[in-house]
């Protein structure tokens, strides 16, 4: 078995993703936490959990800051040391990294990590504005460059440099909706066709409505322990064996490449080296498909194919369930949904299900090694984690 365990996942929880009317983020988080606690009867949450790291992007949605303590309160964790992490859409990927550090430091034997966001009660224009806060304000936002706009700039460059097509982008959406149709917690559980994507309204050319991820309410969490004590809580821990995180310029325009995210490249390299693994070792991956082009770039940055071949990978079905390397079996941000702060640990939840053989209809056969790739903004933050079944 390659890679020394950094931390063990002994339980995990995920709320339903979608439009959860009448609920606050804290209430949704409590729901995810309850699933994790119920599935781990040997855990005494109040006594055992020493720290909580919670990803949350926007105070604007609920006029609520101080979300570390808020989530701890509603999850019934009393006086636990609670901290919120914010790294835009990678907020809970960054929380996971922080939680691994807490376990590795020896300060906390058992740590809870998760994320939550409540978004759907806001008008689309407001959500668009809040999400744009993850980009550069005085140059990008001022010039009217929206968040889909930033990824559209990457898509145009990818199409120009590599001949990637709108149909290949659409293939990512079709695949992820197919996967989402098998996930009872996904926001969208209906299959779509290439035509649905190609004929949907333009958001930021070449990206259309069905190239974009969803506005979602949801929460996710994991319980991590020091690897040496995981056996106290479960017979089937999942080991985290690689962790990478990196940053880049806040402005997309300052970067050398618009067809690859350097932060993701660096984070992937760090995670692979730590795990002593290569891309061909990965059996299943959850990647940050905030837009279809983002998934194509992720294939390339993670080494699943050569730079420029990502579009073909999607079109050929190699990343579909049953393919060479199934990607986003949960439905991804595209169909499962994208409650921003909850996404990173939501991805880890899917890998946890896959590696423990609990993914139901969308189970990847004999999945041993999994990966998550969580990106903040237009790539100013990236986190990559590698997991293996014991």
């Amino acid at each position: 078995m390659k890679g020394k365990p950094l931390a063990s996942i002994v339980s995990a929880g995920l709320s339903k993703f979608g439009k959860l009317e009448g609920l606050y983020a804290r209430e949704i988080f409590a729901d995810a936490a309850k699933e994790a606690f119920d599935n781990c009867p040997k855990l005494d949450p109040k006594k055992d959990i020493k720290a909580l790291y919670v990803g949350h992007m926007g105070e604007s949605y609920e006029h609520q800051g101080h979300t570390g303590a808020t989530m701890a309160d509603w999850a019934g964790l009393g006086h636990v040391a609670a901290t919120r992490t914010e790294a835009a859409c990678a907020s809970s990927g960054a929380a996971l990294r922080a939680a691994i550090c807490a376990v590795r430091s020896g300060l906390s034997d058992v740590v809870m990590v998760g994320g939550a966001e409540k978004m759907t009660h806001r008008a689309t224009a407001e959500v668009t504005e809040y999400l744009a806060m993850a980009s550069d304000y005085p140059f990008e936002q001022w010039n009217g460059i929206t968040f889909p706009g930033l990824y559209a700039l990457m898509a145009t460059a990818h199409m120009h440099d590599y001949g990637t097509t709108e149909r290949q982008l659409a293939a990512v959406a079709v695949k992820n909706h197919y996967h989402g149709s098998m996930n009872p917690k996904a926001q969208m559980q209906k299959e779509i066709t290439l035509e649905t994507v190609l004929s949907s309204r333009t958001v930021a050319w070449p990206l259309k409505l069905y190239d974009c991820s969803l506005i979602t309410d949801g929460a996710s969490c994991l319980i991590l322990t020091r690897p040496e004590i995981a056996g106290r809580y479960t017979e089937t821990p999942i080991q985290i064996v690689g962790s990478g995180q990196a940053s880049d310029t806040i402005g997309l325009y300052e970067r050398a490449s618009f067809t690859s995210l350097e932060a993701a490249n660096i984070a992937a390299k760090e995670a692979y080296e730590m795990a002593e693994m290569k891309p061909e070792n990965i059996n299943v991956a959850e990647v940050h498909d905030c837009f279809t082009i983002a998934e194509i770039i992720a294939y390339e940055d993670l080494g699943f194919c050569r730079p420029g071949d990502g579009g073909k990978l999607a079109e050929n079905g190699e990343t579909k369930l049953g393919g060479r390397i199934p990607v986003n079996t949960s439905g991804g941000l595209k169909a499962k949904g994208h409650p921003v702060g909850a996404t990173g640990t939501g991805q880890a939840y899917e890998i946890y299900l896959q590696l423990t053989g609990r993914a139901g209809k969308r189970q990847v056969k004999d999945a041993q090694i999994g990966m998550t790739h969580n990106v903040g903004g237009s790539g100013a933050t990236a986190t990559v984690h590698i997991y293996r079944r014991e």
Partner: protein
């Protein structure tokens, strides 16, 4: 504009208001900062001088925004892109004065000065935009 003017983003836009496209050049390592920075991210020096930036460049990538934030809805759809200027520095901005269908990666554009009509006062600082040459 005084040589002593601070090397800040606000000053960059004040210069734009004077129809000047200026970057900060690090005296120690020579790195050109557009936008200017108060501390060089390469060598950590705080010694800069203003340097004029060529206004001509090429379009590296672009998009046409159809779904816009409230402040920009009255002018949508509109084109934005990233332009590499002749000295190599890159700048994002709106592209005006062209049919949207005629946009092409590699096309020659120049930086022009003016204000952008938006439905609200935000953003209210002086503006620049790109125009085909």
């Amino acid at each position: 504009m005084s040589e002593k003017a601070p090397f800040t983003i606000e000053q960059f836009y004040k210069n734009i208001n004077q129809q000047e496209l200026l970057a900060g050049k690090c005296i120690k390592c020579g790195k050109i900062h557009l936008p200017p920075r108060t501390v060089c991210d390469n060598c950590y020096s705080k010694d800069f001088k203003w340097t004029k930036i060529p206004r001509k460049g090429k379009l590296l990538t672009y998009t046409v925004i159809h779904i816009a934030p409230a402040q920009f809805q009255s002018i949508s759809p509109y084109a934005v892109g990233i332009v590499q200027l002749e000295n190599g520095v890159k700048l994002p901005g709106m592209i005006q004065g062209t049919q949207l269908e005629q946009l092409k990666v590699g096309m020659s554009l120049s930086v022009e000065f003016g204000t952008c009509e938006t439905s609200q006062s935000w953003p209210h600082w002086p503006r620049y935009y790109f125009k085909p040459t």
